[in-house]
């Protein structure tokens, strides 16, 4: 079983996020880390591999320094990493990112492609469905529990209305929810081993993507401007001295909310 996991480098949770007023895009110059919910995808891939044998390949797109973030997933136990990195890919939106990842995934021809739930930098929350369409493979998303057997994958997921159980034949694309598992911590041995694991970098051309199909040139969307959110008016503050319920009630009546 060959399993690919799409992972992403995002600004570290401890970094205060800001939007660069020049580029109008998220400033990614500070410390970065592996997107937290991608850890669930890596964990699930490792569990499938441990049960069935095979190989876990990380596939990512980003600047060259994204290699640092991949190392954590290698330390968890992934076998190797492929990073699509290209100056022409800067400023990619969903389309460019999906094309680059799909190109890299085509080369790997994995039986299962995993994605994490959403990335903490606000991008990629819908990436799996775009990649699945480009790969022409079935997709199951928001999977909270998973079984892989008999050449198919079955996922249970929570929707607005209850639970759906969905089955798809392999090869397939699966996006997991962060409720699916508890990601393992890398062992010291894993951290040491990660240093010597194969890491390949691909250009857009290597991934079979035309330069104008990614980056700013290939984007279908644009950022027009930034503004402050509307403010909420004056606030009433109540310290409870036993009369808080009455005060809330009076305010609700006064504001015609009852």
């Amino acid at each position: 079983m060959k399993i690919a996991v799409c992972v992403k480098q995002v600004p570290d949770a401890t970094v205060t996020k800001r939007i660069d007023p020049q580029t109008k895009r998220l400033d990614r110059s500070g410390e970065s880390a592996l997107n937290p919910t991608d850890l669930n995808a890596v964990e699930e891939a490792l569990r499938v591999k441990e049960a069935q044998g095979g190989e876990v390949v990380l596939v990512s797109m980003g600047p060259e320094k994204a290699v640092d973030a991949l190392r954590k997933a290698l330390a968890m136990g992934a076998d190797r990493a492929v990073l699509v990195t290209d100056e022409a890919a800067a400023g990619s939106d969903l389309l460019g990112t999906a094309r680059a990842l799909a190109g890299a995934l085509e080369r790997e021809a994995a039986d299962l492609v995993f994605f994490g739930q959403a990335s903490s930098d606000g991008d990629g929350a819908v990436l799996w469905a775009a990649v699945a369409d480009l790969l022409r493979r079935p997709v199951v998303s928001q999977v909270a529990s998973l079984t892989v057997e008999g050449g198919s994958v079955t996922g249970k997921r929570q929707t607005e209305h209850g639970y759906d159980v969905i089955r798809a034949p392999l090869p397939a694309v699966v996006a997991v929810s962060d409720a699916i598992n508890e990601p393992r911590y890398p062992s010291l041995k894993g951290i040491m081993a990660a240093k010597s694991k194969p890491q390949e970098t691909l250009s857009l051309a290597d991934a079979g993507v035309q330069p104008d199909a990614a980056g700013e040139a290939g984007a279908g969307t644009t950022v027009l401007g930034l503004g402050p959110p509307p403010s909420r008016g004056d606030q009433v503050r109540i310290e409870d001295d036993g009369s808080a319920a009455q005060k809330i009630f009076d305010l609700l009546v006064e504001r015609r909310l009852l």
């Binding site: 996020k17 939007i19 939106d93 969903l94 389309l95 739930q117 959403a118 606000g122 929350a125 819908v126 990436l127 799996w128 469905a129 775009a130 990649v131 699945a132 369409d133 480009l134 022409r136 493979r137 079935p138 997709v139 998303s141 928001q142 929570q158 929707t159 209850g162 759906d164 159980v165 969905i166 089955r167 798809a168 034949p169 397939a172 409720a179 984007a219 279908g220 969307t221 644009t222 027009l224 401007g225 930034l226 402050p228 909420r232 606030q235 009433v236 503050r237 109540i238 310290e239 409870d240 036993g242 808080a244 319920a245 009455q246 005060k247 009630f249 305010l251 609700l252 504001r255 009852l258």
Partner: protein, 320 residues
């Protein structure tokens, strides 16, 4: 602008989120609804009341299960057939996957997590709150069609009383689109109004201390004719069902009154409820972030305050 609006339906009801998007689209130009799956023909005419001039319907069996890929095929063929300049969705588990698949299929730009849509010089503009809603970003599209996912519940349906012509169509499905299949579906029981439909929401977080304390909120919600919602933390802990989760990975709600009990106000919760009319927060911790974005901030013990408030509301309602 001519747009197609994906009208999601469940158990014979068009979903409120997609009707809100339809109303907005109708205010910006010509809006056509799309209702996919068995039962569509019966539901389609109702879209006229929310501004659709026409509704495309396919009841093909491939569209019965709530799976995204056959819907991508259907919408892609409709875009070709109608020359629609925009395809708009109210966000849901299903709609997000359909929108992204469609964008990839057509090489079309997708903007998501939008709180509003508008026109500037005749061009569609989306508004996306970013960085925990500390910034509003205006986003646009470079080509046609423009694909957009609007936050669940961000736009309210407006009944305008029009009627829509229902047009049947047949989609051609890609070989890979029908490979995934729905094996089993379990409905979650719910009582009272759903949180998307409620005018009043009483929400609980970790500060409740135990799952049992939700009964206090249920009593207050019942007295107010509202619904009970929960934060991600307590849903993850199994205290309350996911269907009631408000926030980034749950629903976006904008009731007239939102009473937050024992909720600290983490950004991921804030983004789901800050559009509410009046926000009342009850929390023991005077430094809780929720006190920065509520209208009425009450520092105190919810276990004392909520039952008293319930009594006052009951007495008031009873006396009317």
């Amino acid at each position: 602008m001519r747009s197609l609006v994906f009208l999601e339906h469940h158990e014979g009801e068009l979903q409120k989120g997609s009707l809100g998007v339809l109303s907005k689209a109708a205010s910006l130009g010509e809006a056509m609804g799309v209702v996919l799956g068995p039962g569509g023909k019966e539901l389609a005419p109702r879209a006229g009341a929310f501004g659709a001039t026409g509704v495309y319907v396919s009841e093909q069996a491939e569209l019965a299960a709530p799976l995204p890929q056959p819907r991508v095929d259907a919408l892609a063929s409709l875009v070709e057939q109608t020359g629609a300049e925009a395809v708009l969705f109210g966000a849901s588990v299903l709609a997000a996957d359909v929108a992204a698949g469609l964008a990839a299929r057509l090489g079309a730009g997708l903007n998501w997590d939008l709180a509003d849509l508008s026109l500037a010089d005749g061009e569609l503009v989306g508004t996306r709150p970013a960085l925990g809603d500390t910034v509003l970003v205006d986003v646009g599209w470079k080509g046609s069609p423009r694909v957009a996912l609007v936050r669940s519940g961000a736009l309210d349906p407006v009944e305008s009383g029009g009627s829509a012509e229902v047009r049947d169509f047949q989609a051609t499905f890609s070989d890979f689109s029908t490979l995934a299949e729905l094996v089993e579906q379990t409905q979650e029981e719910s009582t009272g109004p759903s949180i998307e439909d409620a005018d009043v929401i009483v929400a609980g977080g970790r500060g409740l201390g135990s799952p049992e304390a939700f009964s206090l909120l249920e009593e207050l919600a019942a007295a107010l004719g509202g619904a009970v919602a929960a934060t991600r933390a307590v849903v993850d802990a199994g205290w309350y069902p996911y269907a009631t989760q408000v926030g980034q990975t749950g629903k976006t709600v904008s009731p007239r009154l939102y009473i937050a009990c024992g909720i600290s106000g983490a950004i991921q919760h804030k983004v789901g409820m800050q559009g509410s009319g009046t926000i009342v927060a009850i929390n023991k911790d005077a430094n809780a972030p929720i006190f920065d974005f509520c209208d009425v901030g009450v520092v105190g013990d919810l276990h004392q305050i909520v039952p008293k408030l319930t009594e006052l509301v009951r007495a008031h309602r009873g006396g009317q």
